[in-house]
C-alpha cells in the first residue's frame, strides 16, 4: 500500500512541474510588468515609481537565464524569472500579495477556515439528503412517484445556481428574516452565517445529485445478485440499504472523494454573495485586482489538491472493492 502511494506521488511530479510551467507562460509571457505595476500603484504613478515597483518584484530580470552580475558581483545564472517562479512554487516559498501586501501563506491561513465552515456542512448535508432520497426513489422505481420525482429533478437541475442564490436569499433572509443576509463571524459565532449558504448550496445540487445517484443505484438494482436476493425473499429495504449501496460505492466514491480536497477552496459564488471571507473570495478579488502572486499561488495549490484528490480516490477504490487491484 505504501509503495503504491509513493509510486503514485512520484508519478505526479512531472504533472506538477507541468502545471508550474503553464502558469509561468500565462502570467509572464502575456502580461507586461509595467502594466501590472501601474495597476497596483493606483492614481497616476510616476515613471520612477513604476520602475521601482518592477525591480522590487524581480520582474525586470531576464526570462530564463541571468548572466548579468548581480549586486554582489557574481553571476547567478538561475536568478531569472523562470527559475524564481518555479522555485517559489515548488519549494513552497510563497510570495507576497501585490494588492494586500501580505504573505500569501498568511492569507491562506486566514481564509481556509471560513471556506471550510461552508463547504464541509454543505458536503455532509448533501450526502445525507441526496443518498436517502435516491434510495427512496430507487425503491419506487417504475411507479408514478419515480417518474414524478425524476421530472422534478430535471426541473431543479435546469435552474441555474444564480437563481437559487438570488431568490433564496431574498425569500429566506430579506422577506422572512430567518438568517443574516450577509456577513460572517469568526469562531463560534459563525453558525448563524453558515445556514443560508449551506441550504442554498444543497438545494442547488439536489436535482443533479439525486438523478445521478438514482442512475447509479438502478444500475446496481438491475444486476443479477439483486434478482437472486429478491427471489430468496430478502426485503427490498435490506437489499437497497445493504447490498446495492455497497456496490454502488465506486461511482459514488469517484465523485465524493474527488471533491473533498476542493472543500478547502470554497465556493466562489456563495462566498461573494454572502460575504464569506474565504478562499473563493480571495481568488475572485485577486482576479479583479490583477494580483498575480496570489493567483499563481492559488492555481498551484488547487492543482496540488486535484492531484491529491485523484490519488485519494484511487486509494479509496481499493479499500472498498478488493477486486480492484493495485496496478
Amino acid at each position: 500500500m505504501l509503495n503504491y502511494i509513493i509510486r503514485r506521488l512520484l508519478l505526479t511530479i512531472p504533472t506538477v512541474i507541468g502545471v508550474c510551467l503553464v502558469t509561468f507562460l500565462l502570467f509572464n509571457v502575456f502580461a507586461s510588468p509595467e502594466a501590472v505595476a501601474r495597476k497596483q500603484l493606483g492614481k497616476n504613478p510616476t515613471k520612477e515609481q513604476v520602475k521601482t515597483w518592477v525591480t522590487a518584484h524581480g520582474m525586470d530580470k531576464p526570462m530564463f537565464f541571468n548572466f548579468k552580475p548581480g549586486k554582489d558581483g557574481s553571476i547567478h545564472p538561475f536568478d531569472s524569472r523562470f527559475w524564481n517562479h518555479m522555485g517559489e512554487l515548488l519549494l513552497f516559498r510563497f510570495p507576497k500579495s501585490d494588492y494586500l501586501h501580505e504573505k500569501v501563506s498568511d492569507l491562506l491561513k486566514q481564509k481556509i477556515v471560513p471556506s471550510l465552515t461552508i463547504t464541509v456542512p454543505a458536503f455532509l448535508l448533501s450526502l445525507l439528503s441526496i443518498l436517502p432520497i435516491a434510495l427512496f426513489i430507487a425503491y419506487y422505481r417504475g411507479t408514478y412517484i419515480d417518474r414524478f420525482a425524476l421530472f422534478i429533478c430535471v426541473i431543479l437541475m435546469s435552474i441555474v445556481i444564480l437563481n437559487y442564490i438570488i431568490f433564496g436569499q431574498y425569500l429566506l433572509a430579506v422577506v422572512f428574516k430567518y438568517f443574516p443576509i450577509y456577513g460572517y463571524d469568526f469562531g463560534v459565532g459563525a453558525w448563524k452565517f453558515v445556514f443560508l449558504p449551506v441550504i442554498l448550496s444543497v438545494a442547488a445540487g439536489l436535482g443533479g445529485g439525486v438523478r445521478f445517484y438514482r442512475t447509479v443505484m438502478l444500475n446496481e438494482v438491475r444486476a443479477d445478485y439483486v434478482r437472486t436476493a429478491m427471489a430468496k425473499g430478502v426485503s427490498e429495504e435490506r437489499i437497497l440499504f445493504k447490498h446495492v449501496l455497497k456496490n454502488a460505492m465506486i461511482p459514488i466514491l469517484t465523485v465524493t472523494v474527488l471533491s473533498i480536497p476542493f472543500l478547502i477552496t470554497g465556493s466562489l459564488l456563495l462566498e461573494i454573495y454572502f460575504g464569506i471571507p474565504g478562499m473563493g473570495n480571495l481568488m475572485l478579488n485577486a482576479i479583479n485586482n490583477h494580483d498575480y502572486p496570489v493567483i499563481r499561488t492559488l492555481v498551484y495549490i488547487y492543482s496540488l489538491l486535484y492531484i491529491g484528490g485523484s490519488i485519494l480516490t484511487d486509494i479509496s477504490y481499493t479499500l472498498v472493492d478488493p477486486r480492484v487491484a493495485f496496478e
Binding site: 501601474r38 500603484l41 501586501h101 501580505e102 486566514q110 445525507l128 434510495l135 428574516k177 443574516p180
Partner: protein, 657 residues
C-alpha cells in the same frame, strides 16, 4: 414480520429526518443579527467597499484607504466639521501659522532676479502623543515633535516608500527637489540630509520656506500626506519578519486600529492617548435645528469602537441599513424614487422609521475630456463645441442621478472660492440645431466629412468594464450619434486606460475630479499645460494665456482680484471646450435615529470622532424590524407532510401485493 416492517421504516426515515429537523429547530433561534452582543460598549456600525490598500499616510491616494487612515492619523490642520464653506482649523497645530513673504536674489540665465518666497511658522500643541505601541520604549507613545513632520514630508520624496503624494510638495518647498533627486538616484532617501525649506526651530516650532507665495499651503498641512509619523514605528514595522508599516498604523488620531481581517472587517477602538478635543460650539446655518450642536463642548471621541464591515456589492449595504445593522448609507440609484420625494425631501415611511437625510454638496466635477493631442478633435474647436451642445446633461441627470445633481457650467463646484452660481456656458445647453450648425462649420455637415464624404467616426474610451460605465457610455454615445456621426466604444482595463491616456492615444473619455483640498487651484490645475499626462491634465489642454493666468492665480489669496482672474480663465476654457462639463454631484446620506452628529462631507477626514450613538434606540429598531416569519415555516412543514402521504400509501399497497 411486524418488527421488521417497523424497523425498516425507521432506518429510512431516520436518515431523512435529521437534516430537516435540524433546520426547523434552529431557524427561529437564528435571527438575522450579524453582530455579537455589544455589552454596554458604544459601537458604530458602518460599511466599506473594499479593503484599504494601505494605511501608510505617504501612500494613501484612494478614498477607501483615506477614510480609515484619517481616523488614525491627524495632520497639523483638519477640516472644520460643521463650518461651510469648508475651511481648516488646527488639529495638532496650536493656532494658525505666521506667514511672511520675503524676497531673495536668484541667479537666472546670468541675470539677478528678485524671487518672492513665503515663510510659514507653525506651532505644535504640547499635549500630542502617539498611541501606545511596542515600537516605542516600554510601549508608551511619545510626544509628537516638529521633526516628525519634517520626516513625514521627506518620506514623500523617498522612492523606497513609493509615495503617491510627492506632487503635493514638489517644487513648492525650498530644497525638496534636490532631496528628491538625490534620493531617486540612490534608490532611497538619506534622512540625515537637510532640506533648506524644512527647519525644526525647536520641538514645537516648524519653519517651512516655500519657493513662491502659495496661500493654499495650509491645506497641504491638513492632508494625510503631511501627518507626522514616528520614525521608530516605520523602522520597527518595516523590519524583515514584520508585516510592514503600511499594515500597522501608529498615529495620533482619536482612534487606533484594533483588528483587521481581510475582506471581512476593520475594527477601530478609542485611542487613550488622544489629546483633549471638544465638540465645536458653532456651525453652519441649519446645524442647530438638525441637532448637530447638541454635543457642543463635550469631549471626543464618543464611540468606544467603530466597526467597518467590508461589503463589496451594493445591495447588501442597503438591505443591512434598512434592517438597522448599518448606521448610515447612501441611496442606491434604484431606490431613489422610494426614498426621496419630488421636492428632494425624505419620504414619509422613512421619516416614520426615524431615518434622516443629509445632503452634502460634493466638491467635484464630472466631465468628458477630449484629447487635445488628437488630430481630429484637438484642432477642431467647432467640432468640440458641437459635441458639447448635443449632450443632454439634464437627461443624464434624470436617468443616472435621479435628477439630484447640479448641471456643471464650468470646472469649479459650488462651495469653492471662485464658483459663480450665475455662470452660463453657452455650449452647455442642449441645442441640437445649433450643434448641427457648428458641425457644418467644423467641416462635418450631417456628420459626414465634407472633404472625403465618409461618416465621421469617433472612439469613446472607458476605463473599466462595469455595467455602470457601459450604461453611461451607451447614453453618451447616443447623444453624439444624433449628429450623424458614428461612435465606437473602446473598453479598457484601468491600466490600459492609463497607458492610452499617457500616450495620448484616446479621443474622449469621461472623468471626474474630487477636490484634494478646497482651493480653486486644485481644479484649475487640471487644465494647466505643464500638467499633461502622467499628471492630471488628461486632455493635454495647453493654452498659453490660461497657463499664464494660472500661474498668477495660484499665488493669490482669496481676494476679488483672484476672482477676476479665475473668471477669465473659465471663459477661456468654455470657449475652447476641451471638456464637456457634466455634473457636480451632491451626496445623499441617510442616517438612523440613533446615530447622532452625522454631517455629510465630501472630503475625507477624521470625522468618526464627532459621531455618537444611542444604543437603546438602535435596539428598539432592531427588534421591531427583524422579526422572523414563523407562520410560513408551519405551512411549509404541513405541505411536506401532505406530499409524503401518497408515498406512504403506495408503499403499503405494494406490501399487500
Amino acid at each position: 414480520m411486524l418488527f421488521e416492517r417497523i424497523f425498516s421504516l425507521k432506518t429510512k426515515t431516520l436518515l431523512l429526518i435529521p437534516p430537516f429537523f435540524f433546520l426547523i429547530i434552529f431557524i427561529p433561534a437564528c435571527g438575522n443579527n450579524p453582530y455579537p452582543p455589544e455589552n454596554d460598549q458604544l459601537i458604530g456600525y458602518t460599511a466599506l467597499g473594499e479593503d484599504p490598500r494601505t494605511l501608510d499616510p505617504a501612500q494613501v491616494s484612494d478614498t477607501t484607504s483615506a477614510e480609515i487612515l484619517c481616523q488614525f492619523y491627524d495632520a497639523l490642520y483638519q477640516n472644520a466639521y460643521l463650518d461651510r464653506p469648508y475651511r481648516v482649523v488646527p488639529a495638532l497645530a496650536a493656532g494658525y501659522p505666521e506667514k511672511r513673504i520675503f524676497y531673495e536674489d536668484v541667479q537666472e540665465k546670468g541675470e539677478t532676479k528678485k524671487k518672492a518666497r513665503m515663510e510659514y511658522i507653525f506651532k505644535l500643541r504640547d499635549d500630542i502623543f502617539y498611541q501606545d505601541d511596542p515600537c516605542f520604549p516600554e510601549g508608551k507613545g511619545r510626544r509628537v515633535v516638529a521633526n516628525d513632520v519634517i520626516y513625514s514630508i521627506k518620506r514623500l520624496a523617498d522612492p523606497a516608500v513609493q509615495s503617491t503624494g510627492y506632487w503635493l510638495v514638489a517644487g513648492k518647498i525650498k530644497g525638496i527637489d534636490d532631496f528628491f533627486k538625490k534620493a531617486a538616484s540612490a534608490g532611497k532617501a538619506d534622512y540625515s540630509q537637510d532640506v533648506e525649506g524644512l527647519k525644526a526651530i525647536d520641538d514645537r516650532t516648524l519653519k517651512i520656506i516655500l519657493t513662491e507665495p502659495f496661500p493654499a499651503f495650509i491645506y497641504v498641512m491638513s492632508m494625510p500626506y503631511t501627518a507626522p509619523v514616528a520614525r521608530e514605528a516605520v523602522e520597527y514595522y518595516n523590519a524583515p519578519g514584520r508585516n510592514g508599516f503600511a499594515r500597522h498604523p501608529v498615529g495620533t488620531g482619536a482612534y487606533r486600529l484594533k483588528s483587521w481581517k481581510r475582506q471581512h472587517r476593520i475594527i477601530m477602538e478609542r485611542n487613550p492617548n488622544f489629546r483633549k478635543e471638544y465638540y465645536p460650539s458653532t456651525g453652519a446655518p441649519g446645524d442647530k435645528e438638525k441637532g448637530f450642536l447638541n454635543d457642543a463642548g463635550k469631549q471626543m471621541p464618543f464611540l468606544d469602537e467603530v466597526w467597518y464591515t467590508i461589503i463589496s456589492t451594493a445591495q447588501p449595504v442597503w438591505l443591512l441599513f434598512l434592517q438597522g445593522y448599518l448606521d448610515g448609507s447612501g441611496i442606491p440609484q434604484e431606490q431613489f424614487d422610494r426614498v426621496v420625494t419630488k421636492n428632494l425631501e425624505l419620504s414619509e415611511n422613512f421619516i416614520k422609521k426615524g431615518i434622516s437625510l443629509e445632503i452634502a454638496s460634493d466638491l467635484d466635477v464630472h466631465y468628458l475630456a477630449f484629447n487635445m493631442r488628437d488630430p481630429i478633435l484637438g484642432k477642431n474647436k467647432y467640432l468640440r463645441q458641437a459635441l458639447s451642445l448635443s449632450y443632454d446633461t439634464d437627461l443624464y441627470n434624470q436617468i443616472f442621478l435621479n435628477g439630484r445633481a447640479i448641471n456643471a457650467q464650468g470646472p469649479l463646484p459650488p462651495g469653492i472660492f471662485g464658483y459663480d452660481p450665475k455662470l452660463e456656458n453657452p455650449y452647455k445647453t442642449y441645442d441640437l440645431e445649433k450643434a448641427k450648425e457648428l458641425m457644418a462649420k467644423a467641416g462635418y455637415p450631417g456628420g459626414v466629412d465634407a472633404k472625403t464624404g465618409k461618416q465621421l467616426e469617433l472612439i469613446y474610451d472607458i476605463g473599466s468594464d462595469s455595467t455602470r460605465a457601459r450604461e453611461v457610455a451607451t447614453f453618451d454615445m447616443r447623444c453624439f450619434e444624433q449628429l450623424g456621426i458614428k461612435m465606437k466604444l473602446q473598453v479598457n482595463t484601468w491600466s490600459q486606460h492609463l497607458e492610452r491616456s499617457h500616450k495620448g492615444t484616446f479621443q474622449m473619455f469621461s472623468l471626474g475630479w474630487i477636490a484634494d483640498y478646497p482651493d480653486p487651484e486644485n481644479f484649475l490645475q487640471l487644465l494647466y499645460g505643464p500638467n499633461a499626462p502622467p499628471n492630471p491634465n488628461s486632455s493635454s489642454f495647453a493654452n498659453p494665456e490660461y497657463d499664464r493666468l494660472y500661474e498668477k492665480m495660484k499665488n493669490m489669496e482669496n481676494i476679488p482680484e483672484r476672482e477676476a482672474v479665475i473668471r477669465k480663465m473659465v471663459e477661456i476654457v468654455i470657449e475652447e471646450c476641451p471638456w464637456i462639463f457634466n455634473v457636480h454631484s451632491p451626496s445623499y446620506v441617510l442616517r438612523h435615529s440613533w446615530s447622532k452628529n452625522g454631517k455629510a462631507h465630501s472630503i475625507s477626514g477624521n470625522y468618526r470622532k464627532y459621531v455618537r450613538v444611542d444604543p437603546k434606540l438602535r435596539h428598539v429598531y432592531w427588534k421591531a424590524e427583524n422579526k422572523p416569519n414563523l407562520a410560513v415555516l408551519f405551512y411549509a412543514a404541513l405541505l411536506l407532510l401532505l406530499l409524503s402521504f401518497p408515498a406512504v400509501v403506495m408503499k403499503y399497497r405494494r406490501r399487500i401485493k
